[in-house]
Amino acid sequence: MSTTTAKVASHPRQRHLSDRAIINLFVWPTLVLLILVNVFPLFYSLFLSFTNYSAIAGKAPVWIGFKNFANLLNDQQMWKYFATTGKYALVSVGLQTLFGFGLAMLLHEKFKGSGLITTLILIPMMISPVVVGLFWKLMYNPSFGYFNYLIGFPNPIRGPDMLASSFARQGVPGLALYSVVLVDVWMWTPFVMLLVLSGLKAIPDYLYEAAAIDRASSWFQFWRITVPQVAPLLLIAILFRTIEAFKSFDLVMGMTGGGPGDQTELIAVNLYRQAFLGQWQTGRSSALAYIILIIIIAVSNLYILYLNRMRGEA
């Protein structure tokens, strides 16, 4: 896109900055800051991933080649954590999409107070994730938490212990993970809803009017008018949420810290553990961080490709 830069009227007496100077002045501070705080650590981190460095050991980093990567990729536990995170991302984003879309459709038709309700629904999204985690922990408590109480199990012995993966003292494997998924969905469905709603608002009325005159079925209207217009935004919402799911740390730390056992040990949590707890395996955790990064980039690219294809068709 060509931009017309108008010639500035020269006032010899007035000192003014040339366009070139302005570009430099405006853009460079941002770039420099970004590079310093983002790019440099990235490269340093890459370097460290090839070493056995430990931040508390006090020894200089020693090059060990791909050993970290090999160890990580051969570690069954690691694969387990990746699987857990994958499951988490899939279910959570899936439910967010479903509920978010549904809510947006319901809120699209105006009714008295729909504006207020829309704003209220946004509140979960605005609370600090770790606080959300903490409070759901309180609510999930089988003795004095509201969750059991509201779903009809006031007696702690006979009811589920959501975060301990048990029901009536019997183990229910995986329950804890889905309990966390529930909270994640609770928190972020409003985000998807917001994006879908703005997409819905952009659909011109006359398309639906033509459909009314043609007596098109609701099914047709949904798939042929609504979905195509909303799809790009929905995909962006899904993209963001998927990336966030892979990075998910705050929520889990507040709620379970990875437990019980390692049922909710998401990959980001494990990364924290390796890097900052126990042995402070800085090199190894850097390698893990890079593996995660590559996965995220791959997934993002897939989405963006699909998104572009969709835009190309439109």
């Binding site: 830069t5 009227a9 853009v27 650590p41 990235l42 809510l103 704003t119 409070f135 961080a289």
Partner: protein, 334 residues
């Protein structure tokens, strides 16, 4: 529906609406859908409700089995949040009780007394809150200001490699915090930035920059160039045109961007946890670990969370329309 087709609706329709949307069947469905949404919203807000009432319960009420819906409100949570306490020995308790009979004890002391504790001084919470305010506030200011300038340049000029630069800026947002944390921790420790305000401000500024630049560019793109060009013809310099003409028009965009950046910086936990310990620690990590005497102080946590939440809610509510605009930028337009 034969009846409706012959007679129409009961009362005159005063809105713009299609005939098929006025049939009784449709109205019923419409009202039902509205009801469902309201119910969902109520259910969805129960956890928020829980936080609110827990903030005003006494400690025993908070962990009462089964959970109490009706209770006598108390400011205990707030008191515990803002003070440090120690268990009072029985003799000390006696002393205090005697003193209470002679002198009217303040509310705060009374509460502590009831819980069998005595106040030993203010807690760290205020300090942490102050840190949050400083760090979130300054970093938001910086990122928005920097973004305004760079976004303007990207919007108006053919900067070399603009597309690539912009993508680079966006990609920094894609990075998981975890990837950057480890080396940042090392870098900060080396540079003595660990646990400093400056370090956190720098970090949050950078993290918000990418979003801020994209948002502001979108907003600037919307402002027609003709205004500045007319000013230039009139003899203004580029800088003058920028300050006098463009910025006032971009105010709503600046507001939206500020809200997003503020929310992120305010609520941020992971970096705060890993890169601070004592001096620069913000509120989120400390709310999470509010250990009192005898376990987790739920009332204090609730009070702290509530207090922490309210500014965000207020600001977001005030600017809700701008948020909708901000969220869709770059998504719908190319």
């Amino acid at each position: 529906m034969a009846n409706f087709e012959q007679t129409g609706p009961g009362k005159p329709v005063l809105e713009a609406t299609r005939v098929d949307k006025v049939t009784p069947g449709y109205r019923l469905g419409h009202n039902l859908r509205a009801l469902i949404v309201v119910l969902l919203a109520i259910v969805g807000l129960i956890p928020v409700f829980v936080i609110v009432i827990t903030a005003f319960k006494t400690r025993p009420d908070a962990i009462h089995v089964p959970p109490k819906l009706i209770f006598t409100p108390s400011l205990e949570g707030l008191v515990f949040l803002f003070t440090e306490r120690a268990s009072a020995s029985p003799s000390r308790l006696e002393e205090l009780k005697k003193a209470a009979e002679e002198v009217q004890l303040g509310l705060v002391d009374r509460i502590a007394l009831n819980a069998g504790q005595e106040i030993t001084g203010p807690s760290d919470y205020v300090f942490r809150l102050r840190n949050s305010l400083i760090i979130a506030g300054i970093s938001t200011l910086l990122s928005v200001v920097l973004a305004i300038f760079s976004a303007y340049a990207f919007s108006r000029y053919g900067v070399k490699g603009k597309g690539d630069l912009l993508f680079f800026i966006l990609s920094t947002r894609m990075l998981p915090a975890v990837v950057v944390t480890v080396p940042l921790f090392l870098m900060y420790t080396q540079l003595k930035l660990h646990d400093t305000h400056l370090g956190m401000i720098l970090l949050y500024t950078v993290f918000n920059l990418s979003l801020a630049v994209w948002l502001m560019k979108g907003f600037f793109d919307e402002i027609p160039r003709e205004y500045e060009e007319a000013a230039l013809v009139d003899g203004y310099t580029r800088m003058q045109a920028f300050f006098k003409i463009v910025l006032p028009q971009a105010v709503t965009g600046i507001a939206a961007t500020t809200v997003f950046c503020l929310i992120f910086a305010w609520n941020e936990y992971a970096f705060a946890l890993m890169l601070t310990s004592e001096k620069a620690r913000t509120a989120p990590p400390s709310i999470a670990t509010m250990l009192g005497i005898g376990g987790i102080e739920w009332t204090a946590i609730a009070a702290g969370s509530l207090g922490f939440l309210i500014p965000v809610v207020i600001v977001t509510f005030a600017l809700r329309n701008y948020l909708l605009r901000g969220v869709t930028f770059g998504a719908v337009r190319k």
